[in-house]
């Protein structure tokens, strides 16, 4: 899936760039975006270290396990295959809480920590598990209950008008994410093949 989309983007870019005479811009974009990617990754190091450090304290003191246990009735429906005492549940819950509160900087390190813990349960290290797909789909559906700071910054007081509409739309997109990820997981083409090692 991603193979075709990835190739499709590059293929279409070069063809259209040639036709529209923007081929130099296409080349320039490829080079500058590869640099941007590294800048983004390097920029993450500090904030990652900060939150992973704080989360390690939360784990060593049993706080994460406590949160995981408290929200188990909800998370067991979304992630039935994760053992109830596994720290991944705690990280997932904290990531979603950070997303809801619009704390993007904190949400990413927590999410990556959750991915690391989900990977420990994964038998095929290069293939996403059902839990990983569910987690990712919920994340990409945006579960924000506080308006993005950038939108508030641009709209000023007028941002108040879109408070309700955003909550309804983001709620619907999250429901759609959960339903589609659960339905798609049952389709044969997305099932993990056991004998194609």
């Amino acid at each position: 899936m991603l193979n075709y989309i990835w190739f499709g983007l590059i293929f279409v870019s070069v063809i259209v760039g040639t036709i529209t005479g923007r081929i130099d811009e296409v080349t320039e974009a490829a080079i500058s975006m590869s640099k941007t990617s590294v800048d983004i990754a390097i920029g993450l190091i500090g904030i990652m270290a900060l939150w992973l450090g704080i989360m390690k304290i939360a784990e060593d003191s049993g706080l994460i396990q406590l949160i995981a246990k408290a929200l188990r009735p909800i998370t067991i429906r979304l992630f039935p295959e994760i053992p109830s005492d596994h720290p991944a549940i705690g990280s997932i819950v904290l990531n979603m809480a950070a997303n809801m509160l619009g704390l993007g900087n904190a949400a990413t390190p927590l999410g990556l920590r959750a991915m690391k813990e989900l990977q420990e349960l994964n038998k095929r290290k290069d293939t996403a598990t059902d839990a990983m797909c569910t987690f990712l789909a919920i994340n990409t559906s945006s579960v924000q209950i506080i308006l993005p700071a950038t939108v508030v910054g641009l709209m000023g007081a007028a941002a108040n008008q879109i408070f309700i509409t955003t909550i309804i739309a983001t709620g619907l997109s999250t429901v759609a994410a959960i339903i589609s990820v659960k339905v798609l997981a049952k389709m044969t083409r997305f099932q993990i093949k056991t004998n194609d090692q």
Binding site: M1, L2, I5, I10, V14, V16, G17, I23, V26, A29, A30, S32, M33, S34, T36, S37, V38, I40, L44, I47, M48, L52, I54, K56, I57, D60, S61, G102, L112, M115, K116, Q119, T127, A128, M132, C133, L136, A137, N139, T140, S141, S142, I146, L147, V151, L154, M155, G156, A158, A159, I162, T165, T166, T170, S173, A177, S180, V181, L184, A185
Partner: protein
């Protein structure tokens, strides 16, 4: 009433990070007697590794998206689809943002800024755009970073589910805003 909710949530959100930074070590050291400094350093070590591990995935995704944007293919795609979506009541003014949102955070922010500058903060297009912005995510970026950080190359149905969620978010934004503001 809504004004008060916004003020309140904004006030609360200012204190969430400081509260976590003091609350978690407090719980660890004072209540559970955890060696918090040592725990912190132990956990923080991973930050570097994870950041480095996502680089190949980010380069792959961001380069492809950057080329696509630079080639003008996006404008072409939109000019084809706009008349079709206009039939179901989807304003062409919001179409570029709807397509850009899953691909690029900076790109979609730029398009939203254009909407604000062009139509003002009280127009229906700005309201729809802002609602879209809050109800969708940069799906390709999140996929690259999250799956890349643990070396997952086969993403199975995660991308489609994420894009379906984006589509539902975008369409809901249009229809909810039309319902409430028109």
């Amino acid at each position: 009433m809504i004004d008060n909710i916004i003020v309140f949530t904004n006030q609360v959100s200012r204190y969430i990070i400081p509260f976590l930074l003091v609350g978690i070590p407090f719980y660890g050291l004072i209540i559970k007697k955890v060696k918090v400094y040592e725990s912190f350093v132990e956990g923080a070590k991973d930050g570097f590794d994870i950041a480095l591990r996502i680089i190949p995935y980010l380069v792959a995704i961001l380069v492809a998206i950057g080329m696509f944007r630079a080639s003008g293919a996006m404008d072409l795609l939109i000019s084809f689809i706009a008349p079709l979506l206009n039939i179901i009541g989807f304003p062409p003014e919001n179409l570029p943002l709807a397509f850009m949102r899953p691909l690029s955070g900076s790109g979609s922010l730029g398009l939203f800024t254009d909407l604000v500058n062009q139509y003002g903060t009280d127009s229906i297009y700005t309201r729809i755009g802002a609602t879209m912005f809050g109800s969708t995510e940069t799906t390709f970026y999140v996929l690259a970073v999250y799956f890349g950080s643990v070396g997952i190359r086969k993403s199975r149905h995660a991308l489609i589910a994420g894009l379906i969620a984006d589509a539902v978010g975008v369409l809901s934004a249009v229809y909810i805003c039309r319902l409430i503001f028109l």
